[in-house]
């Protein structure tokens, strides 16, 4: 029996609409059936929705099936025996794609909404999740809000791989890397991937936006994530970078102008402060084993910071400055 749909005529682009409608009807039909049904039966039920041409109808059905699968709705096929030998019957198990009742209290949902508003992911995932959980996107006007970019096309693959414990293969700094992915860190506007790098046979950190190729995902359940792994601590901070080198002097004393004392104290802690000077400036002991990281930190203060000791580090800074001052 053809569908009665007075509103149908108001819609535009009929061919597209038909495909969407057909997909919904297919899903409704398969979800309502307890027994698998063949494409022939499906076509009979969804009268006039699939093409009359067998091949075209098969192509439409395969496309619907793969589109639904992409939405997380697997349509299972099983080959029949007996009178229908060779035919495939299709079914969908609602439990395999529907979210079970989470049993959130209104208070918990509200809390999730607020959390999602405070830390907003600049992408669909966070919102989709909220809606699926029955919550809403809210927009609190008061209080701090952070927006975390979540738009890198690689993120979804990486997250899926982590959940499946499936190794990833990609090009990085010109080499093919195969990585058991343990986790990801968002810091300072970048995403980092932490995992065991088979090429180096060691735990390594990769910046996701520096991955140079498509990411291929291997077989699931290929590894276990080490217990007690601390993702946040797996990626060195600027401060740790300054301490991660082999320069013979591991620390330097740096005098910092009064205006910068608060910031440097926050960076290195009150214990790093060695002395307060009469003019409000202060001397800090900071790591300098990594000359490059130390220079980036020191020169960010331009002429508001000065290395006091040891003399070798002071000389090194003077050499950097002389070298730059005399550069052509």
């Amino acid at each position: 029996m053809p569908k009665k749909s007075p509103q149908r005529s108001t819609a535009k682009a009929p061919s597209r609409i038909n495909a969407a409608e057909r997909m919904l009807n297919l899903l409704a039909l398969l979800s309502a059936r307890t027994q698998p049904i063949t494409l022939k039966q499906i076509r009979a039920e969804l009268a006039n929705q699939y093409s009359e041409d067998n091949e075209a109808a098969r192509a439409q059905f395969e496309r619907d099936k793969s589109d639904l699968r992409a939405l997380g709705i697997p349509i299972e096929g099983s080959v029949l025996g007996g009178a229908q030998a060779g035919e495939t019957a299709y079914s969908v198990n609602r439990n395999s794609y529907e979210l079970s009742d989470m049993g959130f209290t209104p208070e918990e949902l509200q809390a999730l909404q607020v959390a999602a508003a405070i830390v907003h992911l600049g992408a669909q995932e966070g919102e989709q999740a909220l809606w699926k959980l029955g919550a809403e996107r809210v927009n609190p006007k008061i209080g701090p809000r952070a927006t975390i970019g979540f738009t890198d096309p690689h993120l979804n693959v990486i997250l899926e791989a982590i959940s499946k414990r499936a190794p990833l293969t990609f090009m990085y700094k010109g080499e093919e890397r195969s990585v058991d992915t343990y986790g990801m860190l968002a810091r300072r506007g970048f995403w980092y991937l932490i995992g065991h790098d088979h090429l180096r046979n060691a735990q390594r950190v990769f910046r996701v936006d520096r991955i140079e190729s498509e990411i291929r995902m291997g077989k699931g359940n290929s590894y276990v994530i080490p217990k007690g792994l601390n993702i946040a601590k797996s990626v060195p901070t600027d401060r740790q970078m300054m301490a991660s080198g082999d320069y013979e002097h591991s620390t330097a004393h740096v005098r910092v102008d009064a205006s910068l004392v608060r910031i440097v104290t926050r960076e290195f802690g009150e214990t790093a402060k060695i002395s307060d000077e009469a003019d409000g400036s202060a001397v800090f002991e900071v790591p300098c084993s990594n000359g490059y990281a130390f220079r980036l930190w020191l020169f960010a203060m331009v002429d508001k910071a000065e290395v006091v000791s040891p003399p070798e580090v002071r000389d090194m800074v003077v050499r950097w400055l002389d070298d730059l001052a005399e550069s052509a």
């Binding site: 108001t10 597209r16 609409i17 209080g143 927006t147 738009t151 300072r188 910031i263």
Partner: protein, 366 residues
Amino acid sequence: MAKKRSTKRKAPRKTKQQSTSRKSTKRTVSRAASRTVSRSTAKRPSKRRGPRSASERVAGLLVLLPWLMKRKRVRLSEVAKQFRMSEEDLVADIQMAAVCGVPPYTPDALIDVFIDDGWIVAEVPNFFTRPLRLTSAEMYAVVAMVRAAQKLPGAPERSVLARAVAKLARLAPEAVDAPIHIDLPDEPHLEDLRAAQADSAELRIEHMNPSTAEVKQRTIRVVRIFSDHGHWYVMADDDKSGAIRNFRVDRIQSIVRTGKVYNQADVASRVDDDGERGWFGSDLELVTLRVRGDATWIAEAYPTVSRTQNKDGSIDVSLRITSEHWLSRLLLRGGRNVQVIEPAKYVDLSRRTARAVRAKYAQPRG
């Protein structure tokens, strides 16, 4: 992420006062808001190009329908806003869903959803009542959001969030092992700023300008508090410049309340959220730098107008600068691996800056 960001900048939140007091707004807007805005374009209602595909519409409906059925009656305009859809698209989708169901497609065999005088009504749940499962990415996103939000002032009560996460954990135990971590800087001033905003309390702050390291007193009225690129900013109405500007919170030395109260709506109305213009205002000076080796971070760290990879591996980047001070700091940090191509007046800036800083080391110490 960085590569995309660098060339496609969206407009910063422009202030109505900007034209009269550009100087004061330039730096803060350029270094902070631009990034936030560029990365949060998803926040705006989508301006779709071309028709949506069938599977996009189905995907949307499979999320929308259970959400509606849970609520039974919701204003059409609110739903459109919530789901970032045009009302036109939403109506088309609802009308389409209303004629879907199972054979024989009689009224009782259709999805019971209709539009009634500006309301969407879905009172009888018969199909698509349960939402789709969360994908791994969505599950991780929720858990990571909750964990990061917990540390911020204004967050919901910890125990409530913990209970919600525990319920999620039943679905996906692996997500709760927290393989995703969002690192936000700890900032002791946040609580004071939030409280002041909540009370509409005017503040006096001491704020440090990074390139001159000068500390200035300012009286501000908080509009919003946001993080970007690992720093917290407070967008505020600043009496000194008479403009809305962004202050980096870690550069605020002290905060005290003046005792005055302000009108939130009044101040907020001065922020022109919709006002977009090409991010690169022509009032900011354009410089071209050649970076190589360990200075190529410069090409990623700041908004760039253009970026060209040279055969020798160096990169030419053009960026708008807000002051000579700012550029000199960048050049000093980049060292020999950054070179000013133009304008000519800055070709020598790196040497001049190095000499000026070198002067500090003229007297022996230690």
